[in-house]
Structure formats: structure tokens, C-alpha cells
Amino acid sequence: MSAQERVFNETLLSVENISLSFGAVKAISDVSFDIKKGEIRAIIGPNGAGKTSMLNCINGFYHPQLGQMVYKGAVRKQMKPHETAANGVARTFQNVALFRGMTTLDNIMTGRNLKINKWKTWLLAAAIFVGPTRDEERVHRAFVEEIIKFLEIEAIRKTPVGRLPYGLQKRVELGRALAAEPELLLLDEPMAGMNLEEKQDMCRFILDVNDEFGTTIALIEHDMGVVMDISDRVVVLDHGSKIADGTPDEVKKNQDVIDAYLGVPH
């Protein structure tokens, strides 16, 4: 039932022989895969397979001891998270990491941080909120309103996010990531803890983001139905190693994947 295969040629990010360990614990060992520009790439695997560690490496929270990442055609030097953000990587978190004291609007505006002109909003100008600062704020506010409309969260614009139900929080977090107009969007379990209806909405948003803005998306998800439906290609990790990589149909038939999920004596 999966849609007809889409073809992507240009590689956006290629992960090459990455290994990451914390002391004696190996979180990722020698994993390579690539993410093509414009595709939806899923990373799946049982608990503790190293999926989130992988996202953290891509986004700069972790620095793998071995291997390299080739991003937009060049080997990427070790980067801090705010540097990868400046290079077009945005993400959401497994346990919603919103700015809880702020409203939906302010959260998404904060996501716009890198796009707002620094010099028009530097400390003194901002302190007295003079003309250029205000104009700059207005321009970006307009963009944020577009996102709010897109995600259908107009009604909760001014609500502090701490008060929102979980499903909506996840949606606001997606909005914050989108505000940065990322080239590569990392979603860590965007549908965890959602009911069926919320999942369907989230699927629709992810597909629309990919479709309308051409954003490349890498996502981690446990709901296999969802993964097989929306992703173009799937990479499967188990115990920190890659065990399969391919289209949803290929992966589904892979004996290693079936074993990893159902469990066989190793």
C-alpha cells in the first residue's frame, strides 16, 4: 500500500562509519547511511538501539569518537548544537523540550532566533525597542503566523505551553523547529504518546512539510504502521549497529529486522 517510490539523487548528509561510546558502553558502532535531499528517512530499531544517540550526533549534542559526517558535500568538522542549527539542522525531542513558561507564539518565535537579524536587534537597540527592531519583529511574527496557520494551532497562540495537552505540545515543538526553515529536520519520536487521531494529524503535517517546503526529514518512530506509510527509506539499528537499510518493503521482509523485533537468541 505504500505510495509509489520517489527517486532522490542528491545526498544531503552522509554518515560514515560513526562509532560512539560512553566509557565502556558502546552506543553506536560503525554505522553508515545517507540521507538524500528531499526524502523522509526513518531510523527505527528496538529500545536502546542507538537511534536517539544517532540524532544527537547529527545535531551536535554528542561527538562520535570515530567516523565522519559529510553534510552538503563537505566533511563537517565537530560542531556544537547551536552551530549545526546555524547550518540548517533543526530538531524535536523525545520528551517534549519546549520553553514551558512561554506561550506557543513565543516558543515558535524563539525557533526563529537564527533568522532574525542580529544587528537590528542587538542589545541596546532591543533595549529601547526602536524602529528597526520592531519592524524586524513584525516581519518574523508574520512568518510565525504562517506556521501557526499551517499547524492549525491558531486557538492556542497565546497559551503558555505548559498548560497544553501532550499532543499539542508536540505540534508546537514541530512548529518551533519549522520556524528555523531547516534543510534537515530531525524528529525524535514525533508520535510517541499520541492517540490515533493525533497521530494521523502529525503524519499529515510531516508529509505536508516535506511536500510543500521540500524539507528533508529524518525521524525516529516506534509505530511501524506510521513508519512504513510515510517514509521513503528506512534504516534499522539494533544494539548500536546497522542491520538493514532500504525501502519500507525491503526492510519489512528482512530476516534480521524480524529477528531483532521479535527477539531470537543471539
Binding site: 556544537k80 547551536h82 533543526a90 530538531r91 523540550a97 520553553f99 513558561g101 512561554m102 532566533n113 533595549a127
Partner: protein
């Protein structure tokens, strides 16, 4: 019964009562100015900055030194006194430079430490800055006059000080600016974001270090304003740094995380201690002003530890 007699006095002579209240409000405004600096840093980094009072002292010392044209350390006259406006700008820049140094030397090596450790480091910072200020500008009491008008005028029967009105106006303006800054600007949002969630802040491209510099620079500006107001009214001297202690009860009243709280807390304490001093003071031979604020703070700690406007303290057991 004798405890209630002063209330009759208040009703008997309302003009005098209003003057006392206004005197209290003005003193309160000054407390608020110092408390504001505390709130800013606490909001953005959950660090209680013990050195805020000394920052104000240091700013005032630098300002006076520049206006007198004193050569730092040598303490001789350079013959180049700066006009007030230029001295204020240069002092502002010095405070930004100081923020930069504090981040580099004190905060960065202590990143990810417990708040109590950072708190201790600000105590150390207070001592260092105090000594450094003495070395640079000398330790004698100096007069500060940046040209804030003085004198007094009458509204009806009530006598008002022009200087006090300026102090109140400046404080009100600062609060307004800070409120807009925090709510409506990129940097303000970034500050709140960092206070809420470090990881998420990093992931949207906010570098923590720059934010800390910004916070301390803003706290430095607030200290500068507080230093100017306190220095103009009571001279620039070491005791300036002790007003920081008066800011503590203000914070407990207002809540450590609330800008409006710092203002309201300051006003309540200012008015409370003046009224208590003037009307009830004679019964206990005075000096109520010295302890009133702390007793009030204790009462608040017992019944409303988050303060009037602070975020409710919820902890998982």
C-alpha cells in the same frame, strides 16, 4: 492599646502621613533598582548573584573616577574630567567588558555545577570586585553629581523632593524597558529560553555563553543605574555594596523570578519600614528600619515562600 495609638496619629495628620508614605516609596524604588539586577540574573541562569551590590558600587566608583578625571591605581588627577554623559557611556562599556570577563573567568569553568557552587563563586566575585574597585579608584567617600535636579516643591500641603521624583521616574522607565525587552525581543526570548531548557535553547541556535554575557551586561547596566541613584543621594562609598542585603527581603517578598515582583516588593518594604519607623519607632527607641524588612521576609518565607509574584515552587518528592 498603645500599639494602635499611631493609627490615630495617621488619621489626625494625613499630610504628614502621605509624606511618610512617599518617603517610603522613594526608598523602596531604590531597593527595587538593586533587586532588579538580582532578578535578571536569577531568571536567566538560576544563579543568585551575591555580587550585585558590589557591581553597583563598582559602577558608581568608575563613574565618579571618570567624571573627576582620576587616573586609575595612581589616583592622581589626569586633567581630563569627562562630562557626565560621556562618563556614563564609558562606564556602561566597562560593565559590558566586566560581564565578558566574568563569563570567561568565573562562569565558564563552573558550567554544569550546582547552583550553590555558582552562588559561592559570586560571593568570591563580590570580594574581588570590592578590592579591585578600591585599588583602581581609592577608598575614600566621593560625591557623585550627574546633574539630576534637586530641590523641593509643594503639592498642597505635601512637600516633595525633585530628586525623588527623578529616581521614581527612572526606575519606572527601567522596568518598562526590561519588561518590553523580556517579552518582545529576540534577545529577551533567548534569555527566557535558556532559563527554561538549555538543550532546547541550543537546538534552536542560541549559544549559552553569549547569553550569559548579555545577562551579566544587562545586570551591569541595572547596577550602573542603581549606583548612580544611590551614589547621588548618599555618596559613593563602601556601604553602597551593603544595600544589596536590603535587596534580599525585597526578593523574598516579590519572588526571585519576577521583574514586577522586585518593584512591588521594594515598594512594600520601603513604605513598611518608613511607616513603622516613624509611627511605632519611638515606642522601642527607634531603629525599626534596620530589621523591619527582614522580619517581613521571614513571615513571607513561612507562609508564601515563592513570594508574591514568583513561580510556584513545585518539586517532585
Amino acid at each position: 492599646m498603645v500599639l494602635f495609638a499611631p493609627i490615630l496619629d495617621m488619621v489626625d495628620s494625613p499630610e504628614f502621613f502621605i509624606e511618610v508614605i512617599i518617603g517610603g516609596l522613594v526608598a523602596g524604588v531604590m531597593y527595587s533598582l538593586v533587586a532588579l539586577g538580582f532578578v535578571l540574573i536569577f531568571k536567566a541562569s538560576s544563579v543568585f548573584n551575591f555580587s550585585q551590590g558590589v557591581l553597583a558600587l563598582f559602577a558608581a566608583l568608575t563613574l565618579v573616577g571618570l567624571m573627576d578625571g582620576t587616573v586609575p591605581i595612581l589616583l592622581i588627577d589626569s586633567g581630563f574630567p569627562l562630562p557626565a554623559w560621556a562618563a556614563i557611556i564609558v562606564t556602561g562599556l566597562v560593565m559590558v567588558g566586566l560581564a565578558f570577563l566574568i563569563e570567561r573567568i568565573v562562569l565558564r569553568p563552573l558550567v554544569n555545577q550546582d547552583p550553590i557552587i555558582l552562588f559561592m563563586s559570586t560571593i568570591g566575585l563580590a570580594f574581588v570586585l570590592e578590592g579591585f574597585g578600591d585599588i583602581l579608584w581609592g577608598s575614600e567617600v566621593k560625591a557623585l553629581d550627574v546633574g539630576i535636579p534637586t530641590g523641593n516643591f509643594l503639592i498642597g500641603e505635601i512637600q516633595l523632593q525633585v530628586f525623588d521624583m527623578w529616581a521614581a521616574g527612572i526606575a519606572a522607565f527601567m522596568v518598562l524597558v526590561l519588561a518590553v525587552f523580556f517579552q518582545k525581543t529576540r534577545l529577551g526570548r533567548a534569555l527566557r529560553a535558556v532559563a527554561d531548557d538549555h538543550q532546547a535553547a541550543l537546538s534552536v541556535g542560541i549559544p549559552l555563553r553569549n547569553i550569559w554575557i548579555v545577562v551579566w551586561a544587562v545586570a551591569g547596566f541595572v547596577a550602573l543605574v542603581a549606583g548612580i541613584m544611590w551614589g547621588s543621594s548618599s555618596g559613593v562609598q563602601f556601604s553602597l555594596s551593603l544595600i544589596a542585603l536590603k535587596a534580599l527581603p525585597v526578593l523574598i517578598l516579590g519572588g526571585f523570578t519576577s521583574v514586577p515582583g522586585a518593584i512591588v516588593g521594594g515598594l512594600i518594604i520601603g513604605v513598611g519600614e518608613k511607616v513603622a519607623e516613624v509611627y511605632w519607632g519611638p515606642m522601642v527607641n527607634g531603629a525599626i528600619e534596620n530589621w523591619f524588612a527582614y522580619v517581613l521576609a521571614l513571615v513571607f518565607l513561612l507562609f508564601r515562600p515563592q513570594g508574591l509574584f514568583g513561580d510556584k515552587i513545585i518539586e517532585r518528592v
